[in-house]
Symmetry: C2
Subunit: 188 residues, 2 copies
């Protein structure tokens, strides 16, 4: 593409072997409701070497899925999504909550434990014919992640896979993701 | 810091002189309400070379302000904030809408044209004694940006400056920012 004479940003320094991402994730009991342990990524964001290590690993996953476009889910998926897209020199699209995207868009409604929610994706700039890797911080029950895939597919993209920072294994979210490839950096 | 033996990520390729960021910002009339022209950054996100150019320029601004920490305002400020923090090898904190941050936090309420809103920031990981550069996509009336500064200062940080992708000059937002340094890549 004429706008892009530069090589992809792959030449980051190698990771030191002693960064344990798990030490940068904080457990917050009873958030957002009693009985839930929230996995908080803000300590990870605050430690540049650890954050870089996480982004490197997510980018490596997206590369292994042959991504041609990165989609990030609002809002924490944005934090990791653009660093991954930059590393792979790929376009990025934001998958957003209702009322945020200003142009022509597709919407999908999905069920939550109590009530429902929805997500939106612009028709242009397009995911059409792209191999899309969906990036988010957390895979829990998989409802949001499945809705994101539905949007991508409705607009002509292929879901090449998912890259999460954290997967909550007991919630079996990946069973809702239609056999798509799923990788996470950390499992709880 | 022992975790961080690597040099900062400053060695990105130089920008070609022919990237005009303005061509990657789309004007959407009558969003979110009649009479408003919304400046949409999603085309910029979709073009890797242009997105990289924007992040380089934002990082250069933050560097010129002697930033020691980058804060991004939910949600579009996250898209640019983490790439800037990575380039400068600095910690990042998310400034979020109410109910999103799980740990002990400060809140600030602020007036909007109709009604009010609020923003929150964790007390830990801390901005205390940091020179904080606040990153967001857009400076409009400045209400959100001023609230973000109030949070940073309440928690012991200094606002070293603001870096925006776009400034809507006619709304005179910078007049609300208490004389803090403000730079934007594009003016409308």
């Amino acid at each position: 593409m004429s706008l892009d004479p530069h090589p992809p940003l792959r030449k980051h320094p190698p990771m030191p072997p002693d960064i344990d991402l798990r030490t940068h994730i904080r457990a917050i009991p009873d958030f957002p409701q009693p009985g839930i342990v929230f996995r908080d990524i803000t300590p990870l964001l605050h430690e540049p070497a650890a954050f870089r290590a996480a982004n490197e690993q997510l980018a490596e996953i997206a590369r292994s899925f042959d991504a041609t476009l990165i989609a990030g889910i609002e809002a924490r998926g944005f934090l990791f999504g653009t660093p991954v897209a930059e590393r792979l020199n790929l376009p990025f699209v934001p998958i957003r909550k209702p009322g945020k995207l200003p142009a022509d868009r597709a919407s999908v409604f999905y069920e939550l434990e109590y009530g429902h929610d929805s997500l939106e994706l612009h028709r242009d700039p397009s995911v059409d014919r792209h191999r899309v890797v969906i990036v988010d911080d957390l895979l829990a029950t998989g409802g949001t992640a499945a809705a994101a895939a539905q949007l991508v597919e409705e607009l002509g993209g292929t879901v090449a896979g998912y890259a999460f920072v954290i997967e909550l294994d007991a919630l079996e979210g990946r069973a809702r993701l239609d056999g798509h490839s799923v990788q996470a950096l950390l499992h709880y």
